[in-house]
Symmetry: C2
Subunit: 224 residues, 2 copies
DNA sequence: ACAGAAATTAAACAGCTGTTTTAAACGTAA
DNA sequence: TTACGTTTAAAACAGCTGTTTAATTTCTGT
């Protein structure tokens, strides 16, 4: 009951590291057990299957993150003054709390969440940039021109955020539509989702420049 | 030279259909050739490899979309009055032009683009909702409370957009940071990207309700 | 120290993947 | 029709995947 918990932990740490870097489909059990220095079969012995390992990895983070988030939300509700920004700030402390799980816990957890929905295809991006890079540069330059109150760096990031929003929403359009139809009896078909996307993207891109680069949005001032 | 082009087209159409539905990694060459009604080896014969087939599928759409986008941008620039909304509207006509490639061309192309960056993991979403669904509902309810000028349906969608933005940006954080460093010598490290994300997300979520459900944002009024 | 449970190990399993091979069938120009 | 280059076809290839088996070792409670 001591050595077993040890290899269990080694497997989990190796899986966290490799999953967050290469994704779930992109990481084999052999790579994990090799990184962990344990036998291949021990994964199935301790976690039943690869899916069981994935859920065990995620659960370690969610068991820290989710209660912390709930606590933060309740605290924010108790003192009133709810705003979008204040609600978003509620995610900060739960993320930093993930350092208890791992030194770079917040980063790993978000990447795991991201890979839970997505896996990157790198060669297509290079393929597109080599062939139509000038168009992308034009788009960028025009957006800079249209937003004189923003720096080029900020717009660079926000345009990629917008790209990510559109692509992600499009990929999950089917699932989201089903949920929306169940929760709100929302008659919005999938092909009208772009009309819902546009206001969101426009406001996000043209939003005021990012606030102070200090440690704002932290809950420390809530107790002072 | 006639039968060959025929199987080539069958392969491309089957690949478009299956890729856009199950992703690139999630679709095998055997599934494609079965759907197309052709022999397995014909994919390697006509496209060299699976990667070659993927690029051929994407190229068919990009060869229509990218020039149309460039044209739309030049037209918009010529008559001035550039705004974020008007620039976003420049993407509408190029997307609808993809109907020349396929009846649901715009939808397929966006899904292909989405899968180019991501592949969905469905079971993790259900796993999270079953275990921490109440927290997610609390988050949603509070966001509704914080945005009385928006309907619940709109907020449902925008919160998922925000989730998609964060996850996507986090997954591509490394690649984006490298590009930003090369283009702007941007010293922003990866861990400061969340500070860039917050203003974007906040503005997107709290943006005014979506505009008229008619055919706004189309370039037709530009000539009137 | 011993018996029994728990855990590790090496090996093989069945199934899938993209790719290659070899030969047959096809289309086309002489 | 004959001959030749192109295209199709069935089969096998080598490699990877997650999983299982069976034997061995290690740990633990008495």
């Amino acid at each position: 009951m001591k050595k077993s918990a040890q290899t269990r932990e080694h497997i989990l740490q190796a899986a966290e590291k490799l999953f967050s870097e290469f994704g779930f489909d992109g990481t084999s059990l052999r790579e994990i057990t090799h990184e962990a220095g344990v036998n291949l079969a021990s994964v199935n012995y301790h976690f039943g299957s690869k899916k069981g390992l994935i859920q065990a990895v995620m659960e370690r983070y969610q068991r820290v993150f989710m209660p912390a988030l709930q606590e933060e939300l309740e605290f924010r509700v108790a003192r009133g003054g709810i705003s979008t920004e204040s609600l978003l700030s509620c995610f900060v402390r739960p993320l930093t709390a993930l350092e208890d799980v791992r030194a770079d816990g917040a980063e790993v957890y978000l990447k795991l969440l991201g890979f839970a929905y997505s896996e990157i295809q790198g060669h297509l991006r290079r393929f597109t940039m080599n062939r139509f890079g000038s168009v992308i540069q034009d788009v960028f330059r025009l957006f800079v021109q249209a937003n004189p109150h923003l720096t080029a760096e900020t717009l660079f990031w926000r345009l990629h955020f917008a790209l990510g929003t559109v692509l992600f929403a499009q990929v999950s359009a089917k699932a989201l539509s089903e949920i929306a139809r169940a929760d709100f009896s929302d008659p919005t078909p999938e092909n009208l989702m772009m009309q819902r996307l546009l206001p969101y993207i426009a406001a996000g891109i043209s939003a005021p420049e990012m606030s102070l680069p200090e440690t704002s949005m932290h809950k420390s001032e809530a107790l002072s």
